[in-house]
Amino acid sequence: MDNIAGSKSSLTWVVHISVVLLVALWLFPTVGLLVSSFRTADQIATGGWWKAMLPAEQNQTFRATDPDDEGAQSRDGDLYVIEGNVFEGAAVGEISVWGTSSREISAYQAGETADLGDGEMLTVQANGDYRLTSPTEMSGRGQRIFTTAVTPPDFTTQNYKDVLFTEGSGGGMAKAFFNTLTVTIPATIIPILIAAFAAYALAWMDFPGRALLIAAVVALLVVPLQLALIPLLRFHNEIGIGKGYVGVWLAHTGFGLPLAIYLLRNYMVGLPRDIIENARVDGASDFQIFVKIILPLSFPALASFAIFQFLWTWNDLLVALVFLIDSSGETTVMTKQIVELLGTRGGNWEILATAAFISIAVPLAVFFMMQKYLVRGLLAGSVK
């Protein structure tokens, strides 16, 4: 029975389980990042994000109102009294035990009264209300209260406000966003324009040395771009473009071209020879063949390369730092803005998590809009 065509193989379950596991494996860090982006730096430092979603027992330190504050102490008969709630301005919890010394943080049950010496008495209720009484006027700093309480999950959107609205040395995130677009869009279109012509010539026009040229393009694919940073920048300075948008477009174009030409040539070479020969017989010139036949047929390959190039220039920091961002502070891109927000010593994890989600938004939108081309285009040039 198992071998009847059309019935499901028992291995299907293995496949399904592996798929679920792989998806979970990929999503797990992303979910962690998302949860972390809604937590404060102190929360991230003290507990893992997986604990953030459930109420947890926490040891916290609060401070009673400073006795020196105006109106902090009221009179009740002979006693000076300070009253308040420890959770003021923080997530409300249910206190089980508390203490007044860092050495004994669980000395008292909720509702019990502690003798602090010199006649000072402190009572802390389970809901966080405290009452500090003294026969004489109190002074010094506010009394520390150490509590052990079950607190509900506590999330904040402050990180997103910080990332979106803080002004760095080069202006805010909005400016960086438009600067990034100014870099990315031409840096995607220019290489496609050039590469499409080159790919057609290398695929369908006969001229001496064509094979050598193709080999040279393939060879360029393996040259790391870091090698070209200093010579290229020096060249830009000598011809007078210096650091700026033109420079960064040129650099992105140059670094993107080998892959673009290679990808498009391999795709175009796979188009049916008959169509092109028919067109030639009908008297079409090379340019007409390119515009009217090759380009429309190559659309999936063009689109998939556009996505690659867009994502790469969008996420790029290195090329922008070298060729665009000068010390005038006028030019900045989102990646640079995010690095700046991380702070001088790079410890602001909450900013990193938040920035990751903000900068991912545009690439995600591009990806979903052009996804069908990407899937088709991934096969570009692979089958001849």
Partner: protein
Amino acid sequence: MKKTLMASVAAFALASPAFAAGHLAFAEGEGEFNWDSYKAWAESAPDLSGQQLTIFGPWLTPEDGYFSNMLAYFNEATGAEAVYTGSDSFEQQIIIDAEAGSAPNIAVFPQPGLASGMAGDGFLSPLPEGTADWTRDNYAAGQSWVDLGTYADADGNDNMYGFFFNVNLKSIVWYSPENFEDAGYEVPESMEDLKALTQQIAADGETPWCIGLGSGAATGWPATDWVEDMMLRTQEPGVYDEWVANTIPFTDERVLAAIDEFGWFARNDDYVAGGAAAVASTDFRDSPKGMFTSPPQCYMHRQASFASAFFPEDVVVGEDADFFYLPGFAEKDLGSPVLGAGTLLGITNPSDAADAFMTFLQTPFANEIMMAQTGFLTPHKGVNLAAYNNDTLRKQGEILLGATTFRFDASDLMPAAVGQGSFWTGMVDYTGGKSAADVAAAIQTSWDAAK
């Protein structure tokens, strides 16, 4: 109390973007500033209207905003347009820019090694004449600052290229005064006391120290500071200098002794939060937070003056957290040595504005503006200490001015392969259980290779 604090923090957070835009943060005549020095300088300053001055450095948020506020006063006085930009990969980028010929006017170097290398390649221009004499006369331990900023140029001639601005103090131990009070501990006056206190805290069943060496690719550097401090407390400053210059090998027994002094604290499971095994894996930015948890994970944390940036948000420096000077051994008569580091400014693309700015930094006013805003310390003897933002900074400033011996962070002065390489990794190996002799031998081998 807490509420007003939160309110002022919030107000500050709201106000700082306006600062960052480079407005005059303090109105004339206000605050503890030496306005006379500013006015006198402004009158004699050249007219630089329309001139651009670009400054490039490693400071990012929030230090870049503070620095820009200081620049605003320079711009106001001269009409120049000084702009600061920061980058986290400053060290790589400044070299690319200088090589390609698009260097900024002034670069802010985080340590002298890089500046010295660039001076040797001919990328730095000497500072305005008289800067060396001025530094010698006006900075505490002036000669050592001049020496640290003087390098050989491409032809081998010595010039002063680096002017130190913004110094940080390394020889300090942070603690929570209230936790000390709860437990009845006293601030130690000598290294012997500090060790006794460490033993006492451990005997009480608590953990004395938080030590974290983690720092991404730079993991291990906090331990090099420990060893340098121990070196200054066990040996004469001359020995320290010989060690930095490698005229005595890393495997010298005096160096090994200093490493083992650090090991006394860091390699004992009872003395460090999380046990000795956690030392190398704990991030140095997270490590100080252990002092403020409930109950405290540790009582003391040795880290430079900038450590306060990593305290939890609600900790008030000076009240919830304080520091004491890492004391020397009472039995050794070595005075009060101070270990520090600092950023230095060098001229990478000379212009009139760059020269003028370097003289502006010599005014007490320029230092005071920085002191009032942030964790900025200066060895300038002419500043008004009242300008410091808080008492903690003021105390640090006093330690800096009162130092009998000031020594710069050794790892910043050693060749990069050692000071930013094998010394770091060696200390990680050491806390992991390797012997000091083995670690030192490996470091010395890499130093020989770097020569």
